[in-house]
């Protein structure tokens, strides 16, 4: 009996360590000191598809600034995140509105991403406890299936399920759950590229499971890590410039 208990304890402990290690490797790929990227967000609605392009600057998980470049209706709209606060600037009204409370759950430009999703830049290891629950193949590549449970309160999704490429340590698929256990969002990653020594998925398809439509394709058209980003970009004054 004792050897069985010891065996179970060892396996559990070993898989927990492994899961944390995997998550740490994922964080090293996905997080950075700072980065600048340009992206195209293709929103597949029930009737039409729209493409919104933007350029984003971020430093760690505390500061980020996004400017929308097209289409004309969204051009010049800017978003600033400082710590846990988010402001949006609308050039047509010349108003800067702070997004807070339930508004954070609203869709960004009609996409399957919410402002809350945009805010979440923290390292996974800081927010979740992970465990390896399975192994699966996706498009011929071996993946761990990790279950992540929130260890902090202020998190948008209480539970996540991630499929991590065993070789490249990048997520290939993800399911995001509410505290109640309801599946809220599903995302699939592809076009994994080696950029400045790290693997990074450059296409992510998000699907809000509570919303009609065929999801939102988020394509990173260019990305640069560890750039010199002027500090004034992360100020409210920069929104109106």
């Amino acid at each position: 009996m004792i050897p069985i208990i010891l065996g179970v304890f060892l396996i559990t402990n070993l898989s927990a360590q492994t899961a944390d290690e995997i998550l740490d490797r994922v964080d090293r790929n996905m997080s950075s000191e700072n980065r600048i990227f340009e992206s195209a967000m293709i929103i597949h609605g029930k009737r039409t598809s729209r493409t919104i392009t933007s350029v984003s600057y971020s430093v760690g998980d505390k500061k980020s600034f996004t400017e929308y470049l097209s289409p004309a209706r969204e051009q010049g709209t800017k978003m600033l995140k400082l710590e846990n606060q988010l402001w949006i600037y609308s050039p047509s009204t010349d108003r800067t509105i702070q997004i807070s409370g339930h508004m954070l759950r609203q869709s960004v430009m009609g996409s399957d991403l919410s402002y809350e999703d945009m805010m979440e830049d923290r390292k996974l290891t800081d927010v979740y406890n992970a465990s390896v629950v399975d192994a699966e193949e996706i498009e011929g590549r071996a993946n761990w299936v990790l279950e992540l449970k929130a260890k902090v309160e202020d998190v948008a999704y209480a539970r996540r399920k991630m499929w991590i490429d065993k070789e490249r340590y990048v997520p290939m698929k993800e399911e995001l759950y509410a505290k109640s256990g309801q599946l809220l969002k599903r995302s699939t990653m592809s076009d994994v590229m080696r950029i400045e020594g790290r693997w990074f998925p450059t296409t992510i398809v998000y699907k809000d499971m509570l919303k009609e439509g065929d999801g939102t394709e988020f394509k990173i058209t260019s990305i640069k890590f560890n750039q010199d980003i002027p500090e004034y970009i992360f100020t409210k004054a920069a929104l109106k410039q």
């Binding site: 929103i43 108003r95 509105i97 009609g110």
Partner: protein, 426 residues
Amino acid sequence: MIKFLFKGLIRDRSRSLLPLIVVAIGVMLAVFVRGYINGIMVDMIEQTAKLTTGHVKVMTKAYADNMDQVPNDLAMMEVSNMKRDLEQTFPSMKWVTRIKFGGLIDVPDAYGETRSQGPSMGIGLDLLSEDSDEAERLNLNNSLVRGSLPTIPGEVLLSENFSQKLKVNPGEEVTLIGSTMNGGMTIYNFRVAGTVHFGNTGMDRGTVIADIKDIQLALDMDDAAGEILGFFGTGYYDDEKSEPVISEFKNKYSGDEGEFAPVMLRLRDQEGLSLYVDLTKTMGAIITIIFMVAMSLVLWNAGLLGGLRRYGEIGIRLAIGEEKGHVYRSMISESVMVGIAGTIVGTAIGLGLSWLMQTYGLDISEFTKNATTGIMMPNIVYSRITPPDFYIGLIPGVLSTVVGTMLAGVGIYKRQTAQLFKELEA
């Protein structure tokens, strides 16, 4: 015989006057109350129709299935074509385009930062076209508390309570933060043109009214709208009239089966109004029955009094050989004459009073200004005279007189012929 009875009634006024007055008052009240209640109920239905349901409403199937959530992402596209089509197919009806929307109204301070903010429900309607009668339809001119109606694009009306809560005055700028048709966030500036009082708690709490073109621009709904409302030329909802409109619409668009196919709903099929519409229809019958029962009781009593007064006369008639049945029938014939005469007088007075109420109305704004009802209450209530008002009084008028006389006349059969002479001697 009829002539004989009629002369008797004319010559012996005590036999006819009291029942006639009772019948006339009862019929007058029945006709007047029916017209008054009909007027109030029709007004309430019409208020709801003007604001929300129309007499018929056209939407996409998907929008209609989720109507309570105001799902503008499921709104109709190319709505001007659809409206034109409806105007050509149903030329006797008036068609208007509406957009309902929700969002936050944000009031900026001098630095553009949020000074106050509150949730709102809005309606986009045609306020600026020259031939639009939407402001009149919603009685906006009379509901205006401060400022004026929007006269240029970018102006908006707020409910007075909402403007006070936000501490914003006509002339100041507010920002609508809402969702576009595509589900994205929209931020759009308006200038407050005026404030209105609706007399409805829900609407006074946080309503925004803007021109539909501004709302189309704000919500990225180019030539799109949630609803097209249709109104009958008479200005009143009519179940019978809506049937052929619905079936013609179904025939015309039967080929389109998709979730964005247009569907048409009658007023009674929206907002749980079917019970209310049915109640309006049966109100006449309910009032008639109430007055008939009440008047029968009064006339029964009057008949008993008359029977006591005519105790001697009936006794003599029976004593000289007139059959009990004949006496009973002659009294019923008399009551029919009194009933008809009373009904004519009562209907004439009742219709006269109803006409005054229909023409001038009754201002109840003092009672409704602090109303906490969920339904739309008009400030001035009017009677509504309908064809049944001209003959509806005949039923309680004649029937209650006859029933009253029949009940009172039962005593005739109880009298013993053998004792009649003793009674008469006494």
